[in-house]
């Protein structure tokens, strides 16, 4: 899936690049393809998200049951009865409390513990604030807390609905009271343990005196671990979800998020009115919110309605239970089962809950199965759509095939340019041939400098030093041999710098050839860099499918050619240095220190003279070698069989770069369409489909 999206993104980029260069006819097609790409990517994103959700659901270790009910219907009471927790941990609407943040209650052993998970700035803005902007059409949501605080959202249009006005007010409340909860959003600890008695602070929308609180606004959820009254509920968790008090966008959103990501079963808690009962709009609204939160699963398979039976007292509604159940069955509301229980009676609650869980476990596997099937179907649909897109895109790619309209003009241009290129190379070869007999001033200067250095640097020890060394070594013969061995590398070292001069010669040659290609050959428009880089980059762009074998060989031959000290000079210097080997001048005992000094001075001077002679003989060689290389290159790329065809292939592919003004980019630019084709192939491969072999755009 990710690969497909990457391939689509690449295709989209290519498409955007092409748009600037195509004719109107192709532009229509291209825009159509662009729209399909956008659709497909959106579709892909949805599928990816759904798969992620399904995956998360299948990985969840516990069965999570969400309790949903409007204020005063007995939801909190039901949960208290189920978990044995009190008002302190599960706020009840009776005291004017409203659940502002979901609490997940998991069974555990030991005393009750709780931890609060806060939003960070990013999730706060994305999950809580952004939906208001989206829903109310307020433009782009703020990207930072500072921006949210600084910029008041634009006013609603006058004809806005009541619901919108309410929501707008809610957003205002978030903004106006940001200071009160901001610390939680930017604090170090996303998760904070709290004592059970403090839980209320973080989940309730009002305090005990009915004054609004704001801490809950920063809370993502509260996790409570408590000892349930029935200890056989190990794999279960319940979640206390906000009801829908009034048209509260926040509550609805929190509810949807919880249902989407965390809940396996929903229990609607409803306390029928003892006097007159019917299914109200608010009931249906709440049902619809739940139904649409997980649209791919029929809500009737994973929801239960628990009717809160109030026994005795003013509120006794025992008589109405059956009536209400019948009314629900008549309405749009569909649930798996409807049960009744006195929510204050843990025994009844436990009994109902057991029934619910028993049924839920039975259907949950089926639900999961159907969910996976659905995801697979969606993926298959997406890939099929991608293949449709590929089909559309290929229509464009076919335009790369040369058409009769531009080819004659291309041939004319190519023949002119190839002619100039040939003349340019021929002239260069002749120029280099002529220069083989010219004096190479740079190399001569380098050689002269090296010899000058050598004559100054290579110094034979004085006879006094030789006497001293002989005293140490024991014999003049040994000193003489040692000195010859020392002098040889000392001399040869002086000539290493000639490497640079040789390199200059090759660089100049590459520059000259590159100049012919960029000027006469008009390849300068490719902007491939200077001289050697140009030649290498151009060679790299030649197709390696065998259609330009001679050119590739020629360019490789040219760019790989080097001249260096090791290859050209070293062996000559070494050969001369043999003269300074002890065995070519056997020491004679009568010579003494002065004799050694004399002979060594003479031998060093003589060796340098001979090196000078050798290097002077060499002075024409770099130019000769360079000439030979360029001549060979010229013969390869101009004279060999099929070379003209190879150049035509190359120029054809590059024609819109070389003669930009002559060819409409799309019609002529085979290179661009080859890129397009490759991008389309990428999509096809990612979609796993088989594509017909595309015809390459070549003449």
């Amino acid at each position: 899936m990710v690969r497909l999206d990457d391939a689509l993104a690449h295709l989209d980029d290519t498409q955007r690049m092409l748009q600037a260069k195509v004719d109107p006819d192709a532009l229509d097609t291209l825009q159509h393809v662009a729209a399909s790409i956008a659709d497909l990517r959106r579709q892909g994103a949805t599928v990816r998200r759904d798969i992620g959700r399904t995956d998360a659901r299948l990985r969840r270790p516990t069965l999570t049951i969400g309790a949903v009910g409007r204020g005063g219907q007995g939801k909190s009471r039901f949960l208290q009865s189920l978990t044995g927790l009190s008002d302190k941990e599960i706020p009840a609407a009776r005291g004017g409390f409203m659940t502002g943040a979901p609490s997940l209650i998991r069974p555990g052993t030991g005393p009750t513990t709780a931890e609060v998970e806060f939003h960070d700035a990013a999730s706060f803005l994305a999950d809580l604030i952004a939906p208001y902007y989206r829903e109310l059409g307020l433009g782009p949501p703020p990207s930072s807390l500072a921006e949210f605080e600084r910029t008041r959202p634009p006013a609603l249009p006058a004809e806005a609905s009541m619901r919108a006005s309410h929501a707008y007010d809610h957003l205002g409340t978030y903004r106006d009271n940001l200071a009160a909860y901001r610390n939680y959003l930017v604090g170090q600890h996303r998760v904070q343990s709290v004592p059970p008695e403090e839980i209320l602070r973080f989940v309730a929308q009002h305090d005990g005196a009915g004054r609004p609180t704001h801490d809950f606004r920063a809370v993502r959820r509260v996790r409570i671990t408590a000892q349930f009254l029935h200890d056989d509920l190990g794999q279960l968790a319940v979640i206390d979800l906000p009801g829908l008090g009034d048209t509260n966008l926040h509550d609805e959103h929190v509810l949807r998020q919880a249902l989407d990501g965390e809940v396996d079963l929903v229990l609607f808690i409803r306390r029928p009115d003892p006097l007159r009962e019917d299914v109200h709009d608010v009931d249906v609204d709440l049902y619809d919110v739940v139904r649409t939160a997980l649209p791919e699963l029929p809500v009737e398979q994973w929801s239960f309605l628990v009717l809160n039976r109030v026994e005795g007292g003013d509120g006794d509604n025992t008589a109405m239970i059956e009536q209400y159940a019948a009314a629900v069955r008549r309405s749009r509301i569909r649930v798996t089962d409807i049960a009744a229980a006195n929510c204050t009676d843990p025994a009844q609650v436990a009994e109902v809950f057991d029934t619910v869980v028993e049924q839920a476990v039975r259907t949950l596997d089926d639900l999961d199965r159907s969910l996976v099937d659905r995801r697979e179907l969606e993926v298959a649909t997406l890939l099929a759509d991608a293949m449709v897109l590929v089909g559309e895109a290929q229509v464009l790619a076919r335009r790369a095939v040369p058409s009769s309209a531009w080819f004659p003009r291309f041939l004319q241009l190519f023949n002119d340019t190839h002619g100039r290129l040939s003349r340019g190379l021929d002239e260069l070869v002749e120029q280099l041939r002529g220069s083989t007999t010219e004096h190479d001033d740079e190399l001569a200067a380098a050689i002269k400098a090296a010899l000058h250095r050598a004559r100054a640097n290579v110094v034979v020890p004085s006879s006094d030093e030789i006497v001293t060394r002989a005293a140490k070594a024991g014999a003049y013969g040994t000193v003489f041999n040692d000195l010859t061995n020392e002098l040889r590398p000392q001399i040869s070292r002086q000539f290493l710098d000639l490497d640079a001069a040789l390199k200059l010669r090759v660089d100049a040659m590459h520059r000259q050839v590159a100049e012919v290609l960029t000027d006469a050959g008009q390849l300068g428009t490719l902007h491939l860099g200077g001289a050697h880089e140009f030649l290498c980059a151009f060679a790299a762009r030649l197709p390696d499918d065998g259609t330009t074998a001679e050119l590739r060989f020629g360019f490789q031959f040219l760019t790989e050619f080097t001249l260096n000290y090791r290859g050209l000079i070293q062996h000559r210097v070494r050969r001369v240095l043999d003269k300074l080997k002890p065995d070519s001048m056997p020491y004679d005992a009568s010579a003494g220190a002065e004799g050694i000094e004399y002979i060594l001075q003479e031998l060093v001077a003589e060796t340098l003279f001979e090196i000078e002679t050798e290097l002077e003989n060499l002075i024409f060689e770099p130019r000769e070698a360079v000439f030979a290389v360029v001549e060979e290159f010229r013969d390869r790329v101009l004279r060999s069989q099929g070379a003209v065809d190879e150049w035509r292939t190359v120029y054809e592919a590059l024609r819109s770069d070389v003669w930009a003004e002559e060819f409409e980019a799309l019609a002529a630019n085979t290179e661009l369409f080859n890129q397009w084709t490759r991008a389309v192939e990428g999509v096809a491969t990612a979609a796993g489909g088989q594509l017909p072999v595309l015809q390459r755009a070549a003449g």
């Binding site: 001048m585 056997p586 020491y587 004679d588 009568s590 010579a591 002065e594 004799g595 000094e597 004399y598 002979i599 003479e602 031998l603 001077a605 003589e606 340098l608 003279f609 001979e610 002679t613 002077e616 003989n617």
Partner: protein, 330 residues
């Protein structure tokens, strides 16, 4: 071939030809050095009656020997010649006074080749050359071989020297031109170098050598002999002098090398072959014929020729460039 001279009898003129510094005087000194031993093989004898000749040539011999010792002092060898000079060597059968013939060597400063005809010594050279029977063309070998011969034109001036030789060999008579590449110590060890040297000599004097065959009234032989006048000193390198001029530097060929000339007898042997053959074939007066018959001179000379002529070399640096009957052994 021989000039009759009132004091010296039959005189054969021998000219040392070549530009400055190529080794004319050294070659002359070497010939003088070798004379006694080469001639001593036969029943001939060498006589020096002239004190100037003896003391100068003796002095030059010593200069060569001193140069041969080499070493840090860098003795410069034979000094440059300042004046045209003639040296007389008598050659005849043992015990006969005066000797049957006199070899008159002319040595000169190389600069004479560039002097105008008003120069007194140049006038003298112009007189001597046409009468000369043997011309030694001294050649500086390093200048010819090193650095692809870049210094050859400046030092050996082959075309210029050739003009003088041509002038000399256009006069009637028998002539011998001996090309003597000198300072060959360094190249003698390598047959390839020697071959290259002979090739270069022939190339540079091509037109001259070719001319020997075409001169109608002249019988001119030509020989090439490479010599090592001291043996112990090798050409080492050219150094650049104060004014950019090329300076030849020599060094001791090995530790402890001493005076050890090689092949300096060769030009001498060829010259003697030529001289003695020519002497035997001369137009004799009745008196001379009688004296020769009486003394059995021809026999003695033939024997001598066979003795010292046998050791003439003809390969690896030695070559007869143009044959002449007087170069043959009887």
């Amino acid at each position: 071939m021989f000039v009759r001279d009132s004091t010296h009898g039959r005189v054969m003129d021998v000219v040392m030809l070549g530009p400055r510094g190529v080794g004319k005087t050294s070659l002359l000194a070497s010939l003088y050095d070798q004379f006694p031993s080469v001639v001593g093989e036969s029943a001939l004898e060498l006589s020096v009656t002239d004190g100037t000749t003896r003391s100068l040539l003796q002095g030059y011999r010593e200069d060569l020997r001193r140069f041969a010792r080499g070493g840090p002092a860098r003795d410069r060898g034979v000094g440059g010649t300042t004046n045209l000079r003639q040296y007389l060597l008598g050659l005849g059968t043992n015990g006969k006074r005066p000797p049957q013939m006199t070899l008159r060597f002319t040595d000169m400063p190389g600069v004479l080749l560039d002097k105008s005809d008003g120069h007194a010594e140049r006038v003298k050279l112009n007189q001597i050359l046409p009468t000369a029977s043997v011309i030694f063309v001294a050649i500086d070998s390093p200048a010819m071989l090193e650095r692809r011969g870049v210094y050859n034109e400046e030092i050996n001036k082959p075309a210029h020297v050739s003009e003088f030789v041509k002038d000399a060999v256009t006069t009637t008579g028998h002539k011998l031109v001996v090309f003597v590449p000198l300072k060959c110590e360094r190249y003698a060890a390598s047959a390839a170098d020697l071959t290259q040297l002979t090739v270069e000599v022939k190339r540079h004097y091509r037109s001259l050598i070719d001319g020997f065959a075409s001169a109608p009234h002249v019988f001119c032989g030509a020989v090439l002999t490479t010599v090592q006048t001291v043996g112990s000193m090798h050409f080492s390198r050219f150094e650049t002098g104060t004014y950019g001029e090329p300076c030849e530097v020599f060094r001791l060929s090995r530790f402890g090398a001493t005076y050890d000339p090689r092949d300096t007898d060769q030009p001498l042997r060829w010259m003697l072959r030529f001289a003695v053959n020519g002497f035997m074939a001369r137009d004799k007066t009745v008196g001379e014929a009688f004296r020769d018959w009486w003394n059995d001179t021809d026999h003695t000379l033939t024997q001598a020729l066979r003795k010292f002529g046998a050791a003439c070399k003809e390969d690896e640096g030695f070559e007869i460039l143009h044959r002449h009957p007087y170069l043959e052994l009887p």
